[in-house]
């Protein structure tokens, strides 16, 4: 049984704006699925529907085997949720927050206390457990948010942009924790606008733009759709044509660019050494070389004609409108 099954999910807001337009996906038990897309693509709206915070205006979905509309309480018992920007009460202490979360999930008092200690230690916050959340850094808040989502050992964990705005060290800490949870059997559905996050963490990636999934697969499959890795080789003057001839025996030589010899390699990094050896044996001096692999951004560009990261990422695929900025309309 799939942990998450989504069929034609839709959500319209006031003025007829459709933030999610017929999303369909399946996440297997024990999988990490990343929903990748820019701000306004419909990621958060989808997560809010799957976590029963928002009713769909079309389609259906099942989470942990339960329908998100008809069996919402059962869905809520099975899931853990860490929402965007860690909505934590700055006046509570970390320990109080975990206790409250444990009460919400009906853990007996003694078990709640033990679980709070365990989770705070697990995310490295035991030293700050009795400090108010308002004094926590962004990374600490995210870790606390993650810990609170785990209090009842959920089968499916939803993480909405878990590392947005975090420094690289905090980001890596969150990634490590997500991997550890997944190894322990938790299914993870995360949204992100970071290519690297999807690439590093996810078993499968769904790319969403303007409320629709435009591509889905493992990171490797997706990248393979837009091309093969190629090697860019800088060599001594006058040797370009001869070098093309040599590397052409090992892969498909591409037209030179800016004086660089380009060769597409089916085997990727594994084929770099043979190319270097062949050039060396031919007496061609290599000044530098770089293996260029397709990225998920290339996939995004290929599917949408726009870049996901960098310039104007926030608006890149905008238009659909995230629900936070929208006034809801009657369903």
């Amino acid at each position: 049984m799939a942990a998450i099954e989504v069929r034609g999910l839709e959500r319209a807001f006031q003025g007829g704006v459709k933030a999610v337009r017929g999303v369909a996906l399946e996440v297997a038990e024990g999988e990490i699925y990343a929903f990748l897309g820019p701000n306004g693509a419909g990621k958060t709206t989808t997560v809010r529907m799957l976590t029963t915070l928002l009713r769909p205006t079309g389609g259906s979905a099942r989470v942990a085997g339960h329908d998100i509309v008809r069996e919402a309480p059962a869905v809520r018992r099975a899931i853990g949720v860490a929402l965007q920007e860690a909505a934590l009460d700055p006046l509570m202490t970390g320990r109080e927050l975990i206790h409250l979360q444990a009460t919400l999930h009906r853990l007996p008092r003694a078990e709640a206390r033990a679980r709070a200690d365990e989770l705070l230690a697990r995310v490295g916050l035991e030293y700050a457990a009795d400090r108010r959340v308002g004094t926590y850094s962004g990374g600490m808040r995210r870790r606390l948010d993650l810990a609170s989502a785990l209090v009842h050992e959920p089968r499916v964990l939803f993480l909405d942009e878990p590392t947005t705005g975090l420094d690289p060290v905090s980001r890596k800490t969150i990634w490590d924790e997500v991997r550890a949870l997944n190894r322990a059997g938790t299914t993870v559905f995360l949204t992100t606008q970071y290519l690297e996050e999807a690439d590093q963490l996810a078993d499968r990636v769904g790319i969403i733009a303007q409320g629709r999934i435009v591509a889905e697969g493992t990171p490797r499959e997706l990248k393979a759709q837009v091309g093969k890795p190629h090697l860019e080789i800088a060599i001594a003057d006058g040797e370009v044509e001869r070098a093309r001839e040599v590397v052409g025996r090992l892969g498909r030589a591409l037209p030179p660019k800016d004086g660089l010899v380009l060769v597409e390699l089916d085997g990727g990094a594994a084929q770099v050494a043979p190319v270097v050896r062949a050039l060396d044996e031919a007496g061609i001096a290599v000044e530098s070389l770089q293996l260029v692999e397709p990225t998920l951004d290339d996939v995004f560009v290929a599917k949408t004609g726009r870049h996901l990261e960098g310039d104007g990422a926030g608006e890149a695929a905008g238009g659909a409108g995230e629900e936070r900025a929208e006034q809801p309309a009657e369903a």
Partner: protein
């Protein structure tokens, strides 16, 4: 039964959080203690001679008369502060954390109101002690004081439910905060700070029929006179009316919020 117990635990936990939050955020606590205390001090000090006016009710002192007004002002503001805090929770997304938990979503509002009730009781006890320190005589003794605390606690819940409805409907703390002036208008158009007999028309008529005046009378009677069945019934009916209005509107606002997301 297990579900009921679980929801009761949630209500208690959220109520405790609400009380802690109020004491940790001075801007939520100040309206409950500081403003009514200041008004009580200023009015008692400056207008104490009013007790000598013809038609002023028989009281031992102006503070005896004013104490009920301060208590009702405090519980009105406690209710409003609870509404503001709920709206802040909605604004910062904290309620989403509660809404994705497997508990009744109405328990979440009841938790907030449980906190408001506790604050109402605390403020009532505080003003009873203030009264004792400054020489107020409680004509109905300990039983009367207990009744005062009960009325103020229930009134805090009732007023809090109206503020909660506004918070749930709008999701904006600034809107709930904007109710402050309205609270003072309603207070001054009741018998909280002045007897209806000495007011000019049309304020006198409005005060006479303002349900808040019946609540004030219910809190004031144990201090200045005797508790009567009719007075207690009017106080209870008024509080129940406010509560029915507030809880009904809160339920509607909650349903709308859950439907629309």
């Amino acid at each position: 039964m297990a579900g009921l117990v679980a929801n009761a635990r949630v209500v208690a936990s959220l109520g405790a959080r609400s009380v802690r939050q109020t004491f940790r955020r001075p801007q939520l606590a100040a309206p409950i203690v500081v403003f009514p205390s200041l008004l009580l001090a200023v009015q008692t000090g400056g207008a104490g001679g009013a007790v000598n006016l013809p038609q002023f009710p028989e009281v031992n002192g102006f503070l005896d008369f004013m104490l009920a007004g301060a208590m009702i002002q405090s519980c009105l503001l406690a209710g409003n502060s609870g509404g503001i805090a709920l709206a802040v929770d909605l604004e910062m997304g904290f309620t989403d954390r509660l809404f994705v938990a497997p508990v009744s979503r109405y328990a979440i509002v009841l938790g907030r109101l449980a906190g408001t009730a506790a604050l109402g009781a605390i403020s009532a006890i505080y003003y009873v002690v203030v009264g004792l320190i400054f020489g107020v005589t409680y004509e109905e003794g300990v039983g009367g004081v207990a009744l005062m605390v009960l009325w103020v606690t229930l009134a805090a819940v009732a007023f809090g439910s109206i503020a909660a409805a506004i918070a749930l409907r709008t999701g904006r703390a600034s809107v709930v905060q904007g109710m402050f002036p309205m609270i003072f208008v309603i207070l001054f158009l009741s018998t909280a700070f002045f007897p209806a007999e000495l007011m000019q028309e049309p304020a006198a008529t409005v005060a006479q029929y303002n349900p808040l005046s019946f609540v004030v009378a219910g809190v004031r009677d144990p201090v200045v006179s005797v508790v009567t069945g009719a007075g207690a019934l009017k106080a209870f009916a008024s509080i129940a009316g406010f509560a029915a209005l507030g809880l009904g509107l809160s339920a509607l606002a909650m349903r709308r919020r859950l439907r629309l997301g």
